[in-house]
């Protein structure tokens, strides 16, 4: 029975691979020989924040999720409340 299920499931994986690669390669080809956008954004955002408060690099979490049409860049900064 599992063999039969596998048989139907089996058709799925190549299209998934194709889509994943298309998204990834489109991004990588565009960004070859260009400065790393995320690194630039991070530097600049950090500089702006540092003008107003003391932050430790350890308290900054940056995560990203690149999609086909939109991506999210999440910057999570923990800072102490003003005394």
């Amino acid at each position: 029975m599992t063999n039969l299920l596998d048989f139907f499931k089996r058709r799925g994986s190549a299209p998934v691979a194709r889509e994943r690669l298309q998204v990834l390669l489109a991004y990588e080809r565009n960004n070859r020989n260009q400065p790393d956008l995320v690194a630039v954004l991070r530097e600049e955002i950090m500089a702006v924040i540092a003008r107003h408060m003391q932050i430790d690099q350890d308290d900054v979490q940056i995560s990203m999720d690149r999609g086909e049409t939109t991506s999210t860049l999440e910057i999570d900064i923990q800072f102490p409340n003003a005394a």
Binding site: F7, S13, V16, R20, V38, D58, D65, R66
Partner: protein, 271 residues
């Protein structure tokens, strides 16, 4: 006590990255906290096999060079909360890894995880040597084929001379993992037998992973095979190998050509 395990082979394309992902996920499923580290600077692929390619912000080189904190570069797996990935850089070359820098990163990883699994690049150059440098144990991925066995033998030589353990006069624990094993072809003597390989390399066996289409499906999906198809014979063999790494005594089974009737009727090869 944290353990640093390098997955290495010398030869390319034998299954180091697949093995790193599969064993890393199997150890995490067994309750260990695990980080898989991609040492293939310049040609990273562990992120793709783990399905995290869209989430890479910082990488190993950033951490080694101090431009990012380890915390910021670690990517937590979406399926298992105690499994993390430290991706390689794509824009640098292998010289970006300094021994001192790698040591600092490995030491920090040791303090945070139970298992640090290092995915070595192919070859015997700097990248491969950095991946094995601070390892406690090595898994040598070998296909039952002459060129792979020869390259494994060279890698074993490096493990016994160029690692910190070797230089200190300690023993580097080495295991051979045979991948892409085809029971039917071995039975017809078309393939080196397990005994041949072990005899030539005189190293203990960690497991035998049967050739399986499930490996390709898992990489297509961006999931370690041990998570994507846990019932698949290759996934089961990886899970057993992981248990042996944990020190369990798991009897070795030789994957035979066990195809169901339906498979035969449909003319499919081993699952």
């Amino acid at each position: 006590m944290a353990k640093v395990v390098v997955i290495t082979s010398g030869k390319g394309g034998v299954g180091k990255t697949t093995t790193t992902a599969a064993i890393g996920a199997a150890l995490a499923r067994a309750g260990k906290s695990v980080v898989v580290v991609d040492f293939d600077v310049g040609l990273r692929n562990l992120d793709l096999v783990m399905g995290a390619e869209r989430r890479v912000v910082f990488d190993l080189v950033n951490v080694v060079q101090g431009t990012a904190k380890l915390n910021q570069a670690l990517i937590r797996d979406k399926r298992l909360e105690n499994l993390y990935l430290l991706p390689a850089s794509q824009t640098r070359d292998k010289d970006a890894l300094t021994e001192e820098g790698v040591k600092v990163v490995i030491d920090e990883l040791r303090s945070r995880f139970d298992y640090v699994i290092c995915d070595s690049p192919a070859g015997i150059e700097r990248g491969a040597q950095m991946a094995m440098r601070f390892a406690d144990e090595a898994v040598i991925v070998t296909n039952p084929e002459v060129s792979s066995v020869r390259d494994s033998d060279r890698i074993i030589g490096l493990l016994d001379s160029r690692t910190l353990k070797a230089e200190r006069g300690e023993t580097m624990v080495k295991h051979v993992l045979i991948t892409r094993y085809d029971g039917a072809r071995a039975a017809r003597s078309e393939m080196l037998s397990i005994d041949d390989v072990l005899d030539i390399l005189s190293t203990t066996l960690l497991g035998i992973i049967p050739e399986s289409e499930g490996v390709l499906r898992a990489s297509n999906m961006g999931a370690p095979i041990t998570l994507n198809e846990p019932a698949n014979p290759a996934a089961k063999a990886y899970m057993e190998a992981a248990r042996r790494l944990l020190g369990e005594d798991v009897p070795m089974t030789l994957p035979s050509d066990r195809r169901g009737l339906l498979d035969r009727l449909l003319g499919r090869r081993a699952a």
